[in-house]
Amino acid sequence: MRAMVYRGPYRMRVEEKDIPAIEHPNDAIVRVSLAAICGSDLHLYHGMMPDTRVGMTFGHEFIGVVEQVGPSVQNLTPGDRVMVPFNIYCGSCFFCARGLYSNCHNVNPNATAVGGIYGYSHTCGGYDGGQAEFVRVPFADVGLTIIPDWMDDEDAVMLTDALATGYFGAQLGDIAEGDVVVVFGAGPVGLFAARSAWLMGAGRVIVIDHLEYRLHKAREFAHAETYNFTAYDDIVVQMKKITDHLGADVAIDAVGAEADGNLLQHVTSATLKLQGGSPVALNWAIDAVRKGGTISVMGAYGPMFSAVKFGDAMNKGLTLRMNQCPVKRQWPRLFEHIRNGHLKPSDIVTHRIPLEHIAEGYHIFSAKLDGCIKPLIVANAA
């Protein structure tokens, strides 16, 4: 089969690999029809995630068709059109039994702090991902879901991570009616978090970024007020000014490890890997939210320490909430929102790239060329 293969920081190519085999009785092999590049894939691409091995296939956002199932699979048959949550989880451990699917303890021998994620380094379990023609899906009876007939492929692939994560991020904000919500980052997760904040009754939604085309999308898609932080000496002061010096009730960090806005933070994290990530957006969130407010962290950070302003967070009495999204838990409600016309996730897709050109796709997304917000990868076998 053809598959994306990592060759080292900032480098990848498409190679012939063996079609994955059933390795466990509850495995399925899925023929990928559509995948996406996630903003967090860029952390791998930039060499920031420890134990990212040359030869690995990335991709944790994908849908496809069941090609083969293991002998214990009960709920699926070959030919089913399925969506795959980015979490790999057993459904039966201490954490899964409590709905914390992203924290499964039975799928990742390489770490205990994070569960299993497709194509996301050995730190997340060492599973190849879906930027390929075929992929192995463990615990098929638990994770895989048949895509409803009325749902199109592009909406379905957005549900496998970006939409579910943005919606989950808004929930972690504990938004109450009339709350002022500020979202740092107008990438896919930030756009979905902003849009979801309205569903939860926010009174005002503000989005901050430095890319004008993404802020335009935030105004159009997420009905948000927007601010370009490069236009202000200090974006935190600006947030105070526009909230009558109170600060926002809720802040959502939808940026994560490669936040721009402070060159020293960027160089020490993204370039020199001395931090788990550049916490610029998180620090702005801590200072921009009001005392007693809530911060929801959806941005992905590496496992190393980061220079986070915990003193301010403590002194302000903030509630910090965070987790990788337990994706499948969000789906029934999100299916309703899509069917009722409250959300149209594929509206943020900007690029559709053949698998054979995936290196260009990563560069376009990484360098923010051509108005790129969300690139999809179209597999050859589709």
């Binding site: 900032y10 480098r11 039966s92 309205w198 260009e360």
Partner: protein
């Protein structure tokens, strides 16, 4: 103002927002939010039909973090450890917990060694690395590389110049060092021969 008790007024009322924004407030009640409460004990809803999963065969000695009591029943099988990078990875997993910086720094070091090992190994194959194609940098010409940056207030432009230097720098240095040693070696061998002829 925070100096008095009342919350600042909002620019729009809830009724106005409901009219303007599709779906406004449909999840206002926390009971409609799927991750509220965050933990909800219900092992019957996951689809699992086992108390503990059957174990996946271990086809090679799978590296395992020392904080795990046992090898997890299911695990990824991509890219088994190999070469010097593999040795470093095994040390990181066998010796240091994820609480230790040494664990992560050794793994990051192993990643860089792996890149070098793989680049050298690829030279011996029919498909050696092609650094230009593999970076996707040709999309700079097909997808508005200049127009996407020119005249934009982008905070990332400062490191767009720095990143290629830092990424390509070590490779250029290695190639330069190999060329330097090669030329020196050639002269050391060829020089006396020429003088003797």
């Amino acid at each position: 103002m925070p100096y008095t008790a009342d919350k600042p007024p909002l620019p729009e009322s809830s009724e106005q927002l409901r009219q303007r924004i599709p779906g406004w407030g449909v999840d206002l009640d926390p009971r409609d939010r799927p991750s509220v409460p965050r933990e909800h004990f219900d092992p019957g809803v996951t689809g699992a039909h086992w108390d503990f999963p059957q174990r996946q065969p271990e086809r090679w000695a799978r590296e395992r973090l020392i904080e795990h009591a046992v090898l997890t029943p299911v695990f990824g099988t991509s890219c088994p450890p190999k070469g010097l990078s593999g040795l470093l990875r095994r040390v990181a997993y066998a010796r240091f917990s994820e609480a230790r910086a040494a664990h992560w720094l050794i793994l990051l070091g192993a990643d860089r060694v792996d890149t070098l090992e793989s680049a050298l190994a690829s030279v011996l194959t029919l498909t050696p690395d092609n650094p230009i194609a593999e970076t996707g940098v040709r999309s700079e010409f097909s997808h508005q590389g200049i127009a996407s940056r020119r005249g934009r207030r982008r905070a990332d432009l400062t490191h767009h110049l720095l990143d290629p230097v830092l990424v390509a720098g070590p490779w250029v240095a290695v190639v330069g060092a190999v060329a330097y040693v090669g030329v020196k070696g050639f002269r050391a061998v060829a020089g006396p021969a020429r003088r003797n002829s």
